[in-house]
Point group: C2
């Protein structure tokens, strides 16, 4: 039993390492899903899901330096996908929210991503997809430090 368990974990380690390499590549290749960079997609998705956020909170969410988020957000703002407004209770804070254009772009890309996944997983049963989603969610929980 110990041995089987060892093998299963070893396989997970191997496959996850491979998956990350392939997925990161896919994201920057010609076959990239949609039009938004992964970082932009994640930021828009976060604002859509959690509402207006400040830089510091976004940096923590994405495990990136605040300066990095500051530049990312400025770039995305320049594209018109998010807009900035001052926190009325604290003049130091910039809050960002999705613009209508940003929401539209997000919806389009999300749709494309989901379609791509549908195609990749077309020969999986519904049950398998459900289980995979659940296990991935648990894996993500486990990845939080």
């Amino acid at each position: 039993m110990q041995k089987e368990n060892q093998n299963a974990v070893e396989r997970i380690e191997y496959e996850l390492t491979t998956l990350i390499r392939r997925a990161v590549y896919l994201d920057i290749s010609d076959k990239k899903i949609g039009h938004l960079e992964r970082s932009v997609y994640l930021l828009l998705r976060h604002l859509d899901e959690f509402g207006p956020s400040r830089l510091k909170a976004l940096a923590e969410t994405f495990n990136l330096d605040i300066s990095t988020l500051s530049r990312q957000a400025s770039a995305i703002e320049a594209k018109g996908y998010i807009s900035r407004f001052s926190d009325p209770t604290d003049g130091r804070v910039s809050l960002f929210r999705l613009t209508d254009i940003g929401r539209e772009k997000l919806i389009i890309d999300k749709k494309m991503r989901i379609e791509r996944y549908h195609a990749m997983l077309e020969n999986w049963s519904n049950k398998e997809k459900e289980i995979f989603g659940e296990l991935l969610e648990r894996m993500n929980e486990a990845l939080i430090d």
Copy 2:
């Protein structure tokens, strides 16, 4: 049924995107597993598994430009983890193989990675781990273009 399927795929899309962000972060953070960079680990692992390889083949394996692999390999060679020798049948080709030190480093890091995964997945049943490994492998198949 269509709806459930849709939700399952949506969840997979969401969780995978999140997983990639977390895993990439983990890899460069203080809590990084082991001592080797992910790229170095992957290269050593590949040489261990498939034997001596040339740059072009490695670049294709990792979906990276040959020039990138050339620099990576030189750096890893300088650390003494791999060594270079000429293909006796083709003087243009450099072949790389693991050195004893490289193999040792690989074994150490692999062990640490597997231990970390063991810890993260400690409350998963053996059956769940097996299924997750299998589904990840199928996902990786699906990610090949």
